[in-house]
Symmetry: C5
Subunit: 100 residues, 5 copies
């Protein structure tokens, strides 16, 4: 999985039928310093994440291991909202103290 | 999934038999500013996208999660035509206002 | 899928048993200008492609969606010989006019 | 698989239900000289690895080949704690002599 | 598949149970000139390759298409020992003449 920050949403009317009801979030990847990378993904949201939150994304067939998703053409999903990231002996991120 | 722009088509007569009837679009990836990246994919079109449109592409086994595609040797599919992309508090793309 | 050009062949006597009879082509990836990239793949040939031809390659589990390949340890296959590539309003490649 | 070093942990309360009980380790990839690369992964731990240890990570559907993981949305797992890495005629890493 | 050269071995005592008996080779990727790239993989050996040999590696779910491997958490396997690589009209590599 990778750390990412929710940046926005993507809306589509004309899509593969099984994608109806799937919410697409635009998430931008974070490096191990918590800084935004140029890489992004459009991910199916299965946890109700909001803009600005740090999340974990799963890519590939793992993104379809969620009830009702096994036959949907998605390759990336937001599977967790991050509370804390600890790195070595310190804290890289704590949602309660996030002011960015 | 990734954002991409439809740039053209690829035609092949001699191909794996199950690919008959599959339309191949050449799509170029977009960065999070909506600019064309050097990377492209040749994707199976399952939504009827046209040249110039912004689309979502799914890669890997997810590209075969469409009726009749499960046994076809494809690894990328155009699964949605994008209407709008919202980033932070603004709009990155709106199909109705697209003049590019 | 990606566009590639057939550059050569790879021969192996000592291999996983189910690979007997599989022809391995060395294919070099092409960018969206039709120029050779430094990246290559060794691909199972299921369409009878020859050196110098432009082909489409499928990677991942999609490369095994061909009769008799589902249990073979391959991750890339040549699945189509390209006739034409159209980009925007022009032609990037036409097999009949190929002189490279 | 790739060599990586365990750097920390990621904690999430709000996550896809099947991820309950999965421990997420932040692991940083190592190059073939044993140096830390900028790339990292958040991996499900199935072997009880600790911060500072060298591990092997498996990505993609292989990360779910562990009892109870087949339906969980994970794409990376720590599958082994490394004892030694031998390169050509020398030793690149020996856990007993690790002082880093 | 990709061309790689066997550089060494990785040993682990504490690992996912189904990995018992799997031999891990450290293989370094080769470019299309036969030169070592900085990228490497730790691959399950299913053909008995030795240090210094050129091999083909398969990645992803294809690496588990070998008897007894389908449920093991591996994502890369050495599936063939290379005899010859022919590029355009010449030979890039011939195992019998290899003196590197």
């Amino acid at each position: 999985m990778l750390l990412a920050k929710v940046r926005g949403t993507v809306v589509s009317t004309c899509k593969e039928p099984s994608l109806n009801g799937v919410k697409f979030l635009l998430v931008q990847l974070l490096n191990d310093m918590g800084e935004l990378l140029p890489d992004y993904e459009v991910a199916a949201d299965v946890v109700g994440a909001g803009v600005g939150e740090w999340v974990l994304i799963t890519r590939g067939s793992g993104a379809r291991q969620h009830e009702g998703y096994v036959d949907r053409p998605v390759d990336t999903a937001v599977v967790a909202i991050v509370d804390t990231v600890s790195l070595d002996s310190g804290a890289l991120y704590n949602k309660r103290e996030d002011w960015s």
